[in-house]
């Protein structure tokens, strides 16, 4: 392939594929978790009227992974939701690379700033 600047359109097409893949993967994992969850708890009564907060293991990446390994339906759903939340983050990370290939350094910095804010929220200890 010859060296040339990337066009906006090519970047947008790749972003489209990235978003689609992330959402499909997330949805597939959530469906899988839903099957396990509904098979176990489907006939149990719901109670979302009062707020208790999620059990501790559903609040962190390590806890979710532990739950998935024990085939806990809620943990599998939560993993799918994490993939979904990570999808726009991956989109921003890719955009930083794309702007660098376009030699648009102003937008490399703009994009890295957005990425830092997202990673603070996703990975920071709150």
């Amino acid at each position: 392939m010859t060296r040339r600047d990337w066009g906006d359109l090519e970047i947008e097409i790749i972003i489209g594929v990235l978003l689609r893949t992330g959402v499909i993967l997330a949805a597939a994992v959530v469906v899988l978790g839903a099957v396990v969850y509904l098979a176990h708890y489907g006939l149990t009564a719901t109670d979302y009227r009062t707020f208790h907060g999620d059990p501790e293991f559903l609040r962190s990446l390590t806890g979710i992974v532990r739950g998935v390994l024990q085939l806990d339906g809620r943990a599998i759903i939560q993993l799918g939701l994490l993939i979904l939340i990570a999808t726009p983050v991956a989109r921003v990370a890719f955009s930083a690379v794309a702007f660098a290939l376009e030699r648009d350094y102003l937008y490399v910095w703009v994009t890295l700033f957005v990425l830092a804010v997202l990673l603070y929220s996703l990975l920071g200890s709150h």
């Binding site: 997330a26 009564a45 939701l81």
Partner: protein, 279 residues
């Protein structure tokens, strides 16, 4: 009292409709999800906000994947304005801990009604004939989009006003767990004079990143409940994919009326529920 199977099926169905409306209007499914979950299904507002935030990421990413190929969205406008919306979202999520839900709902209802008023005003679709502002040119925000008569270029104006509105949109997103599509579209369409179709699609594109900025915080706090978020996310996603197909075919004028009507109803609903202490 419903069992989990019934709850999942009904919430999933309602979310499908919400996702369809959300994608069609550029509002995102979230604004419909929170009232539906709290009023209809009596779900605690914390869980509703968590599920809603996740669903707007699904709406935005699912629909944006379809839009970007059409060439309507402007990724520089999106990325530049996301510096305002993501910071705003984190501020909003932090503020949510200290302010009463009722007063937030009233303020937000007023913002929605004001947005509807702005978007229903007669306005000539001629942003492309205005000269660009120096700041917009420096930030390379001007662009072009496909129309029936070929590519149409447009110039961006009102960058400081649009940027400030975007910060506000981010705060509301983090506070209420919505995509703030209404405020985002107003910022771009009204303040920055960006063509409506570019505004709605770029807004949809930005919603996912804005929501992701506060979703992490909400997940760590235990507000994202798998049992609520699962049917909401799957339903909204399916609905938004159908809505995205319709949007590409719909005419701008019809879209604006639908858009204005939906935000008026939601605005009244927010004010009513805020005033009666239900939110």
């Amino acid at each position: 009292m419903m069992n989990i199977l019934e709850f999942s099926a009904l919430v999933g169905l309602g979310s499908l409709l919400a996702g369809f409306l959300g994608a069609l209007t550029g509002l995102g499914g979230g604004v419909v999800i929170v009232p539906m979950l709290t009023l209809l299904f009596h779900v605690d507002i914390h869980y509703a906000i968590g599920a809603s935030l996740v669903s707007v990421i699904a709406t935005s990413s699912g629909a944006a994947a379809a839009y970007v190929r059409e060439g309507y969205s402007n990724i520089r406008i999106a990325m530049f304005l996301e510096t305002a919306t993501t910071i705003g979202a984190i501020v909003g999520a932090a503020v949510a801990l200290h302010v009463s839900g009722g007063s937030i709902a009233i303020v937000f209802g007023l913002v929605l009604l004001y947005s509807a008023f702005l978007s229903s005003r007669d306005r000539v679709e001629q942003g492309e004939h205005l000269p660009p502002t120096p700041l917009a040119s420096k930030l390379r925000l001007n662009g072009s989009y496909p129309t029936a008569s070929g590519m149409q270029s447009y110039n961006v104006r009102g960058v400081p006003a649009g940027y400030s509105l975007m910060f506000g949109a981010g705060v509301l997103s983090g506070l209420l767990g919505i995509g703030s599509g209404a405020v985002k579209v107003v910022a771009m369409d009204q303040a920055m004079k960006i063509p409506f179709k570019v505004s709605t699609t770029t807004s949809n594109f930005m919603i996912g990143v804005t929501a992701a900025a506060s979703a992490g915080l909400y997940l760590h706090r235990g507000y994202v409940s798998p049992g609520v978020a699962m049917p909401v996310m799957l339903g909204v996603l399916a609905g938004s994919l159908i809505g995205a197909r319709v949007l590409v075919k719909a005419r701008v004028k019809v879209l604006r009326y639908v858009f204005a009507g939906v935000i008026v109803v939601l605005g009244i609903e927010m004010i009513f529920n805020g005033a009666t202490g239900r939110l």
